[in-house]
Symmetry: C2
DNA sequence: TGGAGTGCGCAAAGCGTTTTGCATAATTCG
DNA sequence: CGAATTATGCAAAACGCTTTGCGCACTCCA
């Protein structure tokens, strides 16, 4: 910048002002300076800006695993919005809440490497104390999964309860009465709400807790079959577990949906690709990401989250081939 | 830091030295300072460090779309390695080389927001001039896809040629002679190599160019069927197109693999979930990401890429259910 | 014609580190 | 025992930008 100032015969102040527009600059001078900036290919140094302003124009996103399709979609949404608002995105895979990694990323907020954090809780909720401390003094928004202990933070989630009702009503209407719920981790809000929604229609449904991976759907259904537990419908609290359940059922010689109806939740990419397609609840995950980023950045720029309202993103029932009338 | 220095009754210099260890400090003083640091919860300001050192300890990753499973895996690998080497990761989805976005991210390197860039070329190779300029003066490593015009940069790719040979040999051995190749974009190295490998076994195979999306596999096979083009095997240059092809074949009443053998490339998550499983070439995508990050950071820390060798990551043939002997 | 603006520009003070050049005291060596 | 080290610590200079406080020259209104 000094270089530009020298070449233009002005002070760095003037150059800075022509760039920021915070003080008037003679149009003639401004043009000359702008031409030189162009010519020199000058760009302001991010580090200096950061130090001076105390803001990095970077936000962080913590997800359990960036290579999971679902969280990838969230990341995409966050990144889209961040980009639109001229922020950069630093991603942090917590790898299921590896404390060392989480600590590292929380430190990013302390060192003011990032101006705020979008946090998506994963399998186990660990290090909540750390998060709580960080959130007490820095901008944090919870995406996809609310956390009771941090209820004061703004959050963005899907209509889990309503989604569960929709799909449960659908299955009920097909005549099913004996259903099993393959739920997620017990402590998660999403799990609780989804189970509650399903139970409005199937009050006695058995609830088994899985870990959101395909294998756990496979294994849990295996246990049921081994015990001759009677059921005609399986509710997966996410699509992966539902798909695992389908595989296990098939291996056992049962047909889907003729013998057993299986439904999921999420509508991940795979759900529409398998045959038959998985009946599930579509979540607008990109929107969750986008909205989270917007709330966060709004809060950062406003300097407070007092005026920031949490958001619930609507869901849709998507009926495909894995749900059918109960066998008579 | 001033605060710590005051509390300890020393100068900031001494505090800085106890932290960095670049000058000896009296053990007694050091202990006292460390305790105070702990007590105050002091962490050095990232912006100030960045300005002073000229390094941000951040690297960038540019991929076409972070929510694509394949690129998500690359991101995971890059992030893992970056984390191990104590670097942060800024992700940049280029959304198929949207020039505005690319420009923005290239600027991150200019503003020295990031110390280097892992670049994964997408569908269309645009803005190469920009990349070329950036790469001339800053650390850039190409991941997953080499680029001829930038052959001087270090790169990390899969053994595309060998992988194509493996799968082609497999299909040839099943007795097939009439094959069709659903290739990717014509200009990409991976496309060229994969086609070349397949053609060693099927010299006359028809080559159709798709865009790596499921729909294009579907559409291209549709064209073939509409023209009664005779074939018994389809090579997808990635799994998504292969899956699209399978769907179209099935809709046309053809069975896979009884009537037509279909194979892919990548071994994405979906490939093992569909029924039957997709025969394909497994790429170790996470390793591509990890290696790229390592090369980049090695280069950054060495101050030069002269000693950095490009890497080819091995692939495996994965035989599943979509390939079978030619119908007699 | 004397204030009261207002348009433009400069100098200088930070922002929070790291690093360099000196001091001073303590230790070692020939 | 004098000289050469070594150990320890401080002051001050960067790093490249933004912002604040002033000054100077106009213009405007009564």
């Amino acid at each position: 910048m000094q270089q530009i100032a020298d070449a233009a015969g002005v002070s760095v102040t003037t150059v800075s002002h022509t760039m920021s527009g915070k003080r008037p600059v003679n149009p003639e001078t401004a043009t000359r300076i702008k031409r030189l900036i162009e010519e020199f290919g000058y760009v302001p140094d991010a580090g200096a800006r950061h130090l001076q302003s105390g803001r990095s124009r970077m936000i962080g996103l913590a997800v359990p695993d960036i290579s999971n399709w679902y969280f990838g979609r969230i990341a995409r949404g966050v990144e889209e919005m961040a980009d639109e608002l001229d922020y950069g995105l630093i991603v942090c895979s917590t790898f299921n809440s590896d404390p060392r990694r989480e600590k590292r990323y929380f430190n990013m907020i302390r060192t003011r490497m990032i101006d705020g954090l979008v946090y998506t809780a994963g399998r186990q909720i660990s290090e909540m104390n750390e998060l709580e401390k960080v959130a007490a003094s820095s901008p944090v928004v919870l995406a996809d999964e609310g956390i009771d202990r941090l209820s004061s933070l703004p959050w963005v989630t899907s209509e889990n309860l309503e989604g569960a009702r929709l799909v449960a009503a659908h299955v009920r209407q097909l005549g099913h009465t004996r259903a099993v719920i393959i739920a997620g981790f017990p402590g998660l809000n999403s799990t609780i709400e989804r189970v509650a929604g399903i139970r409005e229609y199937f009050p006695n449904a058995l609830v088994l807790n899985g870990d959101f991976e395909m294998q756990s759907g496979y294994d849990l259904v295996g246990d049921l079959l081994a015990n001759d537990f009677p059921f005609t419908a399986v509710f997966g609290c996410n699509d992966l577990m539902a798909i695992g359940a389908i595989r296990r059922l098939r291996e056992h010689g049962l047909r889907v949906p003729e013998d057993v109806t299986v439904v999921g939740f999420d509508d991940i990419e795979i759900a529409s690709v398998i045959t038959p397609g998985l009946t599930t609840v579509h979540q607008d995950v990109v929107t969750i990401g986008r909205t989270s980023a917007r709330l966060l950045i709004d809060g950062i720029e406003a300097g407070s989250f007092d005026a920031i309202e949490s958001v619930v993103v609507p869901v849709d029932l998507v009926v495909r081939g894995t749900s059918g009338p109960v066998a008579s």
